[in-house]
């Protein structure tokens, strides 16, 4: 009975979403105030019912109600409670429900903040969010109902995929979803601006903190996914360019471009239609990410054909949401007039270059991700695009971007004397190059061209992010940085640390696969690893062989590592749990392979220098985003900021971007 209540709540939520879509949009078009104010109550009601539906599904998991098909497929009575709660998003149907829940949450927040915006505009924003929500809820109800019954019910469930039984994997999808769904907010703002036909700097000021908010979650979500892949998949890599990863990375690239384009629109009143286009693209890629990944279409076009109902619905939804907004864009975007110009050497130019490079990278990744799909759909045979392709098409635009970034942060708006800019940063560039040449030789005893280029880029970005905050800190008379400026410098510091980490890891990782017997000691990158023993351990829903390895350096004990080879009882699948001794400067990673006979095991041991900088850099980026999104000007009530204009052109006092 209770699951039916959940379904009922979901239907009510869908009806309310349709109201939230239709009434305010119609009201704004005809000027009916009473219809426009309905938006907020419809959004609140929708939120309540989605929460009820979500709670009901969670209840079904916690109480092991295996008469619900989705629960039977993704849970088991032996599953620990925390994983039962997380199993709600362990499959397609439940994760759609989570998607709707996140959207309802964002909508509620947007509705609350919209009180300080003109009613007509705020209603249109909520109306557009209502359309998105109605579409997704309809999709859930018609093709992917999580409350479907299983008759007759099974005694016990099929268990959660062992790969997902991990703390990082519990947090990864919700974070990513908050980010994906958050991109609906700038999208709704963009469509509302197209409908109104007016886009001013206030619009950019309203949109920006939401975009940065969504971007923060995407950043943390992707970083967490990468970290999970690193230690859980047992291979020790941190990024594989597989379609599922690309699907989450493309909205991030677009979102990053959008944040920077919004900065120009807010500050200078230009790049308006471009910003709107980016907002549409970012959300389209988010939708693509969610649906294509969860419905399995990215893995193969065949799964599209095996479930034509879902596939057709996805296409229709994309056509309606993205196609509709693009048509609107074609008719309305010419209304947005630029409020000024800029010279070649100016912050606007650097931000434009940032946008072009990010969009090029994103476009090429999209091409590489979708090409095999089209190739196969045309009946031209099955192929895949290898990792090196993605490395090249990503690095070719990103390396120039890193070098431009350092300059752009210090460029003034509108125009600047190039000599001043280069004069201020020349020594930083030389210092970065010196570090890049010397550091690898001292620390790792070898070097290469790409290593030098990569580390130069990383150190350059790091130093140029630090110089302004540090010099202001040293000069007690200097004007203090605003929170948004702090945010900009810190986020870019994160980018710098990320580049350093990625360059050093890719250049100096040592990976070894080796046959080892108990009692044997071998050496990896100066560390001695001793295979001390093997024992059986038992978990709540698995049994495992657990190896014991002692890590030493120059005879000195460092750590004991206990990697496991688990067999999950229900699915009888083996799973490798790697053991890692992680330090900021390096990781040592040990994973059990399989018994090779003769008492030997295949053991994978890896030395990964500075790999933590990759995820640490992402966290710093997100932190910078948080500072930027909570700047005072986003918390102030609406008013024309005339004083902002008078400051334009003075680099030392520019507002952050």
């Amino acid at each position: 009975m209770i699951p039916e209540l959940g379904q009922f709540a979901l239907i009510l939520a869908c009806c309310l979403a349709i109201c939230q879509a239709a009434l305010p949009l119609a009201g704004a078009q005809t000027g009916r105030r009473d219809w426009m104010v309905m938006a907020r109550s419809a959004a609140t009601g929708q939120f309540v019912f989605v929460v009820i539906a979500y709670a009901v599904l969670t209840h079904a998991f916690v109480t092991d109600d295996f008469s619900v098909r989705f629960v039977a497929l993704h849970s088991n009575s032996d599953l620990p409670l925390g994983y039962k709660i997380a199993a709600v998003w362990g499959g397609h149907e439940g994760s759609l429900l989570l998607w709707s829940l996140m959207l309802a949450l964002w909508t509620l927040a947007v509705a609350a903040a919209g009180r300080s915006q003109p009613l007509e505009f705020a209603s249109r924003v909520l109306g557009v969010l209502g359309i998105v929500s109605a579409g997704v809820l309809l999709f859930t109800l018609l093709t992917s109902n999580p409350f479907d019954r299983l008759l007759p019910p099974v005694i016990d469930g099929n268990d959660l995929n062992p790969l997902l039984q991990d703390p990082a994997m519990v947090a990864h999808p919700p974070l990513l979803y908050v980010g994906y769904v958050g991109m609906a907010v700038p999208f709704a703002f963009a469509v509302a601006a197209l409908l109104t036909g007016k886009l001013d700097r206030n619009w950019a000021r309203w949109t920006r903190p939401w975009t940065v908010g969504a971007w923060i979650f995407l950043t943390v979500g992707i970083a967490l996914g990468s970290w999970w892949a690193y230690y859980e998949l047992g291979w020790g890599g941190w990024w594989f360019w597989d379609p599922v990863e690309n699907a989450s990375f493309m909205p991030w690239l677009m979102g990053t471009a959008l944040i920077h384009s919004l900065a120009v629109t807010e500050r200078r009143g230009i790049f308006k239609s471009w910003t709107v286009l980016l907002a549409i693209a970012a959300f389209t890629l988010s939708l693509l990410g969610t649906f294509l990944v969860r419905s399995g279409v990215l893995i193969s076009v065949h799964s599209f054909a095996s479930d034509p109902e879902r596939g057709l619905f996805i296409l229709l939804l994309l056509l309606l949401i993205s196609g509709g907004s693009l048509v609107l864009y074609a008719f309305r975007a010419h209304n947005f007039e630029a409020e000024g110009g800029f010279r070649l050497v100016s912050r606007e130019s650097f931000l434009l270059a940032n946008n072009i490079l990010l969009v090029v990278a994103c476009g090429l990744i999209l091409f590489g991700t979708l090409y095999p799909l089209f190739h196969d759909a045309m009946g031209a045979g099955n192929l895949s695009v290898g990792e090196p392709f993605f490395n090249v098409v990503f690095l070719v635009p990103m390396l120039p971007l890193a070098f431009l970034l350092g300059l752009g942060m210090h460029a003034a708006w509108q125009k600047m004397n190039p000599k001043t800019l280069i004069g201020r940063l020349r020594w930083l560039g030389i210092a970065a190059l010196l570090v890049a040449v010397v550091f690898p030789l001292i620390a790792y005893g070898s070097t290469g061209v790409m290593t030098i280029v990569g580390i130069t880029a990383g150190v350059w970005v790091t130093l140029s992010s630090l110089i302004e905050p540090v010099s202001r800190w040293l000069d007690s008379r200097a004007v203090r940085l605003t929170r948004a400026q702090w945010g900009m410098f810190i986020a870019h510091l994160g980018v710098g640390l990320f580049i350093i980490g990625a360059s050093v890891t890719s250049a100096f990782t040592i990976e070894t696969d080796r046959a080892v017997r108990i009692g044997e000691t071998w050496e990896v990158a100066g560390f001695d690893i001793e295979f001390r023993g093997l024992r059986q351990v038992e978990g709540p829903n698995f049994v495992a062989d657990e190896g014991e390895f002692e890590l030493r350096r120059d005879g000195e004990f460092i750590a004991t590592l206990r990697p496991q080879k688990r067999i999950y009882r229900v699915r009888t699948e083996p799973m490798t749990e790697a053991a890692i001794d992680g330090r900021m400067a390096r990781d040592v990673f040990v994973a059990l392979g399989e018994p090779l006979g003769d008492g030997a095991w295949s053991i994978r041991a890896q030395y990964k220098p500075m790999i933590r900088f990759i995820w640490f850099g992402c966290v710093i980026m997100a932190l910078g985003g948080l500072l930027a999104a909570t700047d005072r000007r986003y918390r102030e009530p609406v008013r024309e900021r005339a004083e902002a204009k008078s400051r334009v052109g003075k680099p030392a006092e520019q507002g952050g971007h």
Binding site: I356, G381, S384, G386, F389, V392, R571
Partner: protein, 147 residues
């Protein structure tokens, strides 16, 4: 410089940059396309000898052999019509077992042995790589025809 000239320089730089990246992308793309071939296609000589490609099929029961204590493993991949011997050195993925679907990346050597540098097994028990499923169907059809 006038604003107009500056704009032209900017546009010129952008176009040049795009052209260079397009060139790099095109080269990288062509070099990294990995075509998939079934054991039958390989046996009939459709697969390239000089290029890396992907080979998929079922791991033949009882075919997995390794020299005791060594990391090098030999197995046979089949589509139930033709079979190809495969050799791999390294740790096999968790879900690699006899009788199950597998996709391997590598090159053919002169002796007709497929030397794989990467072995991928299914993600979960319900899932078989669709290209492998297709090869098996095709292999079964050809085997039936041959009888």
């Amino acid at each position: 410089m006038k604003a107009r000239q500056q704009r032209m320089i900017f546009i010129g730089l952008v176009v040049a940059g795009m052209a260079v990246s397009a060139g790099f992308a095109y080269r990288a793309f062509n070099e990294n396309l990995l075509y998939y071939f079934s054991p039958t296609q390989v046996a009939e000589g459709d697969a390239p000898l000089e290029r890396r490609f992907r080979l998929g099929g079922l791991v033949v029961d009882g075919s997995v052999k390794r020299a005791s204590g060594s990391l090098t493993v030999d197995f046979v991949v089949t589509d139930n019509y033709h079979s190809i011997p495969v050799q791999h050195t390294g740790v096999l993925p968790d879900l690699f077992t006899e009788g199950q679907g597998v996709v391997t990346h590598g090159t053919m050597n002169a002796d007709g042995l497929f030397v794989a540098d990467e072995v991928l097994a299914k993600h979960d028990e319900n899932y078989m790589a669709p290209e492998v499923a297709e090869s098996l169907e095709e292999g079964a059809r050809r085997a039936a025809e041959a009888e």
